[in-house]
């Protein structure tokens, strides 16, 4: 019984913490972020297991965590409101080549981050080539180029258009 409540408490506490910390926290991982993730895992492990190192205990905790996760995803499918609460909604951060600065600040993203995503995903060079940039719920940035450059996705310069 206590294994179940420990797992459920940790799940909810971590959800609250990471919801507050924001999506970008661990989405774009630097080496240090990776180390941080490991330390968070270590710190959580103690609270999850308590002084019970049996196989039974760890299996119950794993099954409990997965079950809660499945239930939450089912609830998200059923209701848009729940999905919005659990994951948040995608945010448009660049509209028609113009960065929306207040949203950038809220999401703790810089223009450099957007350009990095634009280069990597679409091979774009300048901000004005971006139609929309969206901060997805997963924490990543996706970029939609202007339709005037239909082959921008290939990474070739616009002159290469047929």
């Amino acid at each position: 019984m206590d294994a179940f409540f420990r797992a459920a408490t940790i799940y909810m506490a971590l959800w609250v913490i990471f919801r507050i910390a924001g999506r970008r926290t661990l989405a774009e991982m630097t080496t240090f972020d990776f180390v941080l993730l490991l330390i968070i895992g270590e710190a959580t492990q103690q609270a999850l297991l308590g002084d019970d190192f049996s196989i039974t205990n760890s299996l119950i905790i794993i099954v409990t965590l997965l079950l809660i996760d499945v239930l939450v995803s089912l609830a998200k499918r059923r209701s848009q409101t729940v999905a919005k609460w659990v994951d948040g909604v995608p945010t448009i951060i660049v509209s028609d080549g113009k960065p929306l600065y207040d949203r950038l600040r809220m999401a703790r993203v810089t223009e450099d981050d957007i350009m990095e995503a634009a280069r990597r995903l679409q091979g774009l060079e300048r901000m004005d080539q971006i139609k929309y940039a969206v901060m997805e719920v997963s924490g990543g940035i996706t970029v939609i180029p202007h339709a005037a450059e239909p082959d921008a996705g290939t990474g070739r310069p616009p002159q290469g258009a047929e």
């Binding site: 294994a3 179940f4 019970d52 190192f53 049996s54 196989i55 039974t56």
Partner: protein, 136 residues
């Protein structure tokens, strides 16, 4: 998955309402509260209450037999026994009781998996028997 977690909450895999159990010796002087399901290497408590005239015997000596000899680590005993003595198949402890209904709490850690059979008795009397299932 739901069934498994439901079983865990109810105590089938230790620590829960279904796991709580109580036994006593034929005279009803020693009552042992224990957990039916326990886990290997996880601490569990054994609470022994003394009822009736035996409580006035001072000190009262109790014997733990069978599984207590080998398969169980006794981590703490509260209150501390006055003295402990080894037996071939268990251990004997003597306690002073302040009053009737006094209780002794043992924190034990099973080291083996499977069925544990234990006996708790006041010296010279018939024992209270308990069996516990130990999960890996």
């Amino acid at each position: 998955m739901v069934l498994l977690v439901g079983a865990a909450v109810s105590g089938v895999f230790a620590s829960g309402p279904l796991s709580e159990a109580e036994t006593h010796d034929p005279d009803g002087t020693v009552v042992v509260e224990y957990e039916r399901f326990i886990r290997r290497m996880a601490p569990t408590t054994l609470r022994i209450r003394f009822l009736g005239p035996v409580a006035n015997a001072d000190p009262v000596a109790i014997e733990f037999r069978n599984s207590f000899a080998e398969d169980v680590d006794i981590e703490t005993v509260r209150p501390e026994p006055d003295h402990m003595a080894a037996m071939p198949d268990g251990v004997r402890m003597a306690f002073r009781l302040a009053q009737e209904g006094g209780a002794v709490t043992l924190r034990i850690k099973p080291q083996a998996v499977g069925l544990l059979r234990g006996e708790v008795s006041i010296v010279g009397r018939r024992p209270a028997r308990l069996s516990q299932i130990v999960y890996p």
